[in-house]
Every structure is written in C-alpha cells, then in structure tokens.
Amino acid sequence: MDATDVASTALHRQLGLTDEEAARVEAVLGRAPNRLELAMYAVMWSEHCSYKSSRVHLRRLPTEGPGVLVGPGENAGVVDAGGGLAIALRIESHNHPSAVEPYQGAATGAGGIIRDIFTMGARPVALMDSLRFGPPSEARNRWLASGVVSGISGYGNAVGVPTVGGELEFAPSYSGNPLVNVLCCGLLPRERLVLARAAGEGNLAVLLGAATGRDGIGGASVLASAAFGADVEAEAAKRPNVQVGDPFEEKRLIEATLELLDRGLVGGIQDLGAAGLTSAASETASRGGMGMDIDVSAVPLREPGMEPFEVMTSESQERMLAIVAPSSLGQVVEVCERWEVRATVVGQVTAGGRFRVLDGPGGEVLADVPAASLHGDAPLYERPMKAPAWREEPAGATPPLAPDSGATRVPPGTKVPPGASTRSEADLETLTPEALAKDLLAMAYDPSWVYRQYDHQLFLNTVLAPGADAAVLRLSAPGARPAPGSPERAMALSTDGNPRWCSRDPRAGTALLVAESALNVACTGARPVALVNCLNFGNPEHPEVMWQLSEAIDGMAEACRGLGIPVVGGNVSFYNETAGTDIDPTPVVATLGLIERLRPGIPMPALSPGGAVVLLGPDGPAATSLAGSRWEAQRRDRPRPHGLLAPLDLALHRRLLDLVAGLVAARLVEGAHDVSDGGLALALAEMAVKGGTGCRVSGVGSLEGLFGEGPSRVLLCVAPAHLAEVVARADAARVATRQLGAGGGDRLVVEGLLDLSMAELAAAWENALPTALAAP
C-alpha cells in the first residue's frame, strides 16, 4: 500500500464511508475516485440519503390505494382530495441538528419539509410538529425544548405556513437525543402536480434562491448518520454542521416557485436538501434518464475560496434547482427578479446519463460519474436483527405471578421485559383515590403554551385548532381554491407516537399507533385516507434496533392493510443514540383524513353539562392493559405490572372509524375524544377541562379500567335526545356502548376510584407546561 492509498483510506473513513463502500465506489467507476467524487458518494450513500439499512424493510408497507396520486420515493406523497384538488404531505426528522443547535435545527427542519411540498407544485398550508425531549427537570432539556419551539415559531410564522398541531412529550430516553419530526401539508390543483425530473438535452439547470456557503457541509453524513457521544463539548463542536435558515428567503422562494410552476415555465424542479447540489442535480437527471453537467464555478457563493467539494455538498438552505428550456429562461429570470430571488444557470441537461462537475463552461472536468449510481447503486444492507434477550428466555424463566396481577390475561409462555415484576400488596396500598388523583394530575397538561407561539390560523383554514384530537383545515389556499359553488371540504391531520407501547412490543405497539391516529381523525368526522411515517430509531448496527425497526414496519403494514390506509411517504432516522444507549423505538405516524362536507360545529373533545358520557368500543378487563401505559411509566419507581399490550381487532376498528365519523358528521354527538394514553381517566379529565364542567361516572371498576390503555375506544358526550339513535347506530355497526354517567357539577368523580375538584384539575392542566419549562 503506498502513501496515496493510505491517505485516501483515511479520507473515505473521515467522510463516513466504510472500506467496503469505498471499494464499491471504485468498482462503479472502474477507477479510484478523486476527492470530489468520493465526497459526493459519501453524502449520497449516507444512511440519511440512501436508506441503505431500512429500504429492504420499507418495501413491506402497503403504498397503493384509490386516492394515491404519488406514493413514496418522491419529494412528497400526493393524495386526491376531490373537487380538482390534491394534498401533498411529508414528514421528516431533524433530530440531530436540533440536539446540537435547537433553534436552527428546528427552523431548518421546517424549512426543508416546506420545500419538499412546494417542489411538488403545492402551496404549503400546514405544519405539525412531533416533539420529544428528556425530562424537563434537567436544564439542558428545557433549553432544547424552548429552543425548538422558538425555532419552529420563528421560522414557520415568518415563512407564512401555519403550524396547526403536533405532539409534545417528555421521557428519559430522549435526554441528549431529542426528536423533532416536522410534517408539512400542501394543497394544489391536480393538474399542477410536478415531479422532479430533468428532460430534454440542452435544457438548463437553474439554481434559485440563496447563495451557497459553508454551512451544513456533510450534515447528512457527519451529523445525521452518526451517533452522539457522551461529550457535550464535542457535540457542540458539530454546530457548524447545522445549517442556518432564513424564512424570508424561503417565503420569496415559495412565491417565485409557485408562479413559475403555475405559468409552466419550468419542466422539473427539485429542492436542495441533504447532500445539497449533488443530490438535487444527480437525482433530477437520473429520474429523467438523463445526465447533467454542473459548472461549479457558476454557483453563487457566500464566501470566497470554497472548494468544489464544499460547493457540491453544502447544505445551505433555501435553494432549488429548476430545469428550464432555454427559450423560457428570460421569463424565469423575470419572475425571479420580481420576487427578489436569485436565479443562476449552473448547468445543462445532457444525454448519456453522466453526472459531471466542470470548472467553468467547457472547463476542466472535476468529477465524472454515472448519475444513477449516486443513489441507485448505494449499498442495501440486510443488517443482522435480534430480538432482545428477554423475549428469548424460556417460558420457565417467567417470574411467578401474584394472585392479583391479572395473570389470566397473560398467556402461558409470555416473556417478561426486564424490570417487570408483579404488583405487590404494598403497591395496592397506594391505589387510594388520593393517590390516583395525584397520578391523574401529573398526566394532564395544556399544550397551548406551545401552540400560542405558532401562527396556527393563516389562510383562514383552521377550523379545529391545536388541542383537538386532530387539526381540521378547510381545503382552500391561494392558487388552489375549490371550484365555485362546490361544497366546502376539509382535511383532518393527526400526528402520533408512543414509545411506551413500541418499546414493550414494537409490532403490536406500532399497529396500535396507526389505529389511534386513524381514530383521531375519525373523531373530527373525517375518513382516514393516507398515512406518512417518521421512524426514529437507535443505531442500526445494533441488532436489537434493526429488530425493532423490522417489527414496527410489520405492525404498521398490518394495521394499514387492515384499515385500508396506504402509506404515501416516510422518513427513517437512525443513530438516535447517546453514549451507546439507543432511544426507545419511536415510530411516528401522521394520518390524513378527509371531510366531504364541512359545516360549523364540529364537536370538540369536551363534555357538556347534562350530556350522557358514553364509552364506545370494547369494555371490560380484556380491553385494556397497564403494560406500556402512561400510568406505568409514571410509577416507574413502583413495581411494574407486566403483560401484553391490549389486543387490536382491525375489523372492529374499521367499523368503529366509520361509525364515529358518521356520528360526528351527523352532529349526533356534542363531544368525542379518542381514549388513548392515560386511559379513560385522562380522556375524561381532558374532556371535562375543555368543556368546563365536571362529571360523575360509575362502573369503571378497577385500576385497569381507569388508567389501562387499549385501542378502539372513544368517549362521547351525547345529548339525551340523541342517545337512542347513537346506541342504535353503534349496535348496527356491532360496536359496544356503555353509558358511564353524565357531565355536570364541579367535580370529576369516578365512583370508588377518583374524586377531584375541577378547579384543582384545571389549575394543574394550565400550569403543568409553563411550570415544567420555567427555570427553577
């Protein structure tokens, strides 16, 4: 081995390529790559860009359905919304940048996903954020949480896309590695749908938007595709790998791009995201079966002296690559000038499928590779998978069950997770109404401290604001208005994750998640029509993590098939790991639903005085489980009950979705709320607080009945006059109903278990978040 070989070995490793991957590059090219080529392969073959560890599993997801116009693999999924309109949606993680620099990490997360949407020709109309942090008792977690919220607020508000909902959760597994998943939805006239493809030899590649700087170089490989160490200082040193966002630039870019697409001035357009110009140019070319020459000297730079590899892999924000016929260039420049957007010809579409980087027009060839090889030839890994040890233990190793442990629900041979043990007599002593009230108060929180910081109303579409089971938005946007005289329609959106269910059983847990998300949109009267996912996992080189991913995908596939909901896009975030410890498996799903006829008065998840409180769906001890419940997690210092997650009957769930959407659409209910984490107790408490009334219910029976979690359950508040019809419709759908009690009074009473003043509950609800996030 000579000195050059040693140097290049060191280089590919620094760039994040393994020795095998470097050899594969050499095999593709038939020669050793130069430094620029190696840098381009390193970013394109990174986990972040290539999905090399997850792609073999993602294929198992159902992706087709009657309304799907564009499935996974493009910048965003697109679903037919009827009336000539379509909805584009995508969700993506920005976990690692946010861990290092929370404001910019979250801001550019929003910026990136917004570009994915308007790239498709859609006007971005809604953002949602699914946020997870470590416990707020640690100062760093508070800094991360408020930084991320400020970043979303600062960027999203200014760029002019409302943030209409999301999730916020604190759990120990996210200390050091927060999760910031951002969903964006856009609306477009069906005929404006654009796919990022280069066509026509001689057409021009025009770079739109910001100048290119040194920010975010190698962000996809160095930051997004590697784990964090324990050294906070060393991680802080990665801040230069985080991009810096400018919402004003992006706002102008949105307007310019939509005008260019509206006027048919560009053939294809692609945003510059991870792996920057290399990715945008090579993917656009290879999707169109073409090649491309990029003149690296033509790229407008933010600072002098940038190396070609820096220009080609920079992740500077707010840039797009448009494919323009030479005859349209003048008009393109004119539109861009009006919006004060820079437009620069940086390349040309070529025949033959080569992706070349040149120094000046007709200048020195700095790189010359097959365009398709940069993503098409990325390695695919079937990484080793292994179930955690506790699943493999022989049945005999299961600890003996105490008589009161609910043992009848645990089938023989069921494996028990570490730390699980039976409930003791001492534990039961803490199950007094006072203790249970305290447990409930610790669960309830009002998310409005967060969403008040987000413009959630722009475009006059937001019918149900954040805080409802799902956001409901009128389907209308500048440039994508419904046909005059057509009935007002709406979409419903819900993002959902549950690491407790998914760490207990990633397959069953993910199926429960899909079921919950669909039920959330049904509670607003919508029919679920599509789902996107963001799969947040630990280090894929850990066999247990790959097992979790594979199981989660199987659970998602089963539930989506059973409920008839196609998966139209997704994102995988690996290496969510700090100092060797992986996060709990956290698949997040976002479900899109459609409301065919939008009318005022969609029921809120709220009780009203005198309304009957009705539980819809399975009831009794087998319907719920404390395993993986919020209550169990909260009482982590107590001996934990063990067992399985509650079973999910997909056929029943499907009937329930139709039933609930129908009841809501017919306005037969005054309030509807999915019973999810926190069980019946939390669902009841939330409905009571939002309705500003107490309630009295009975027959809940046990701790499992109060805090146990299980699918396919909805709490309804029904006016007495409608009760008979609600029950009749449920009977016809073969869904069980039970009247638990009625709204009214100033106490929340669950007979025999809970008796709490509404004033105390409302105070805990309002103060929880501001108190937790305030400095001590």
Partner: protein, 241 residues
Amino acid sequence: MAVRVGVVVFPGTNCEHDVAEALERLGGQAQLVWHTTTSLDGLDALVLPGGFAHGDYLRPGAIARFSPVMAAVNEFARAGGPVVGICNGFQVLTEAHLLPGALQKNRGLTFLCQMVELEVASDRSALTAGLVPGRRLRVPVNHFEGNYTASAEVLAALESEGRVVLRYVTNPNGSAHDIAGVCNEAGNVVGLMPHPERASGELLGSSDGLLLLEPLLGRAAGWRGQSTSGPQLLVSGASNP
C-alpha cells in the same frame, strides 16, 4: 360598482390573500398591490396586511417604510383615503409616521397567536364608525411585537381625542392603556394588532372581524364619492354619481 380595496404586498407579507377573501365576503373587491407600485389610481381604500414585510429585518416595518409604494400610500392617506394597517401593517404605519407610537416586543417575550376579546373604544375611525363604544368583539392576535407604546403626551392626546380605537379586555402583550388599535386625527388612517380577517366566519369561531371591515368599505365608498378632484382617479368615471 364594488368598492375597490388595494391590499399592499411587500416581500414577506403573508396575510394578503386572507384580507382579500374577507373583503370579498363583504362584497368588496380586493386588488393586490405590489410594493414597487407607485400609483394607486382607482383604489377606494388601502389595507396593509399582516406578515413579515422584508423579513422584519432590522425591526418590523423599518425597511418597508422605504418601499416605493409608501410614498403613494402617504399621499393617499393625506388626501383622506381610508388606510388600515393590520398587525405588521400597523407596524409599518408607525414606522412611516402615519400613526404615532411604536410596537415593541410582547411583555412575555414570546410570539402570541390566540383569540382575544376587544372593546370598541371610539367610533371615530374608518374601522369602527357606527360601532357603539363599549361593544365587545372576539378577534385573534398573531404577533411578537404588539406591545404598543408612546410618550405620555401622545397617549394623553390619543385618549382625549378619541383616537384609541380598540382596547384589549385582557391585555395579552403589555400594550400601554391596553391599546389594540389607534387612528390618526382624521380617523382615516387606522392601525390595529388583531386580525379582523381571521374572525370572518362561523367556521373560524367568530365573525366579529367583519363588523370592523364593513365600516371600512362604507368609508371607502363615501370617500370615493368626495374625492373626484383629489389625486385618486376612478377607473370608470361613468359609475361615479
């Protein structure tokens, strides 16, 4: 002929389509006016809508006041034409000295997007003509810099001249005297932080914003009738009685 309202759009403005939609619900006709426009001929009123003009860089409104359109806005206002600044538009009008005072960061140092209750404080303005002082309205706010401030003398003058137009019932942002909106001496130039267009229908939870936009259209129609000799020329003289 429908009243024609120019909705001024700076780069970074984002509420222009919403304002246009709300005006059109009332039968008005909205026309987007790009910030480089120098002639406002044919327009009966102007709205400077919310958003982040020029990215709010330096300070909200600080750059927008130098946009070419502002000379024409100034002239339009001096001639008596109704001009309303909503949120960022209010900030622009204060920076342009068409309205007194300034909007500083909210007391709580966070952005605030929420429904607020307002009280009509004066019926002297183009937005509140015909509304009984004391009347309560539910209209959302959406801002980071909505904390109205002015010198004691200016505040005293605003109060004594009935130029405090709208007040918050519960002050969300620290504004002096709970001020949510003010007007100039003639009442034709009005600025307010709340967004009337966001309270323009039952689906949005309130229609009270229309109660503010309706008087604006009325004033615009009236002004058009008086302004034939002013700098504003009508598109069609024939339709002008």
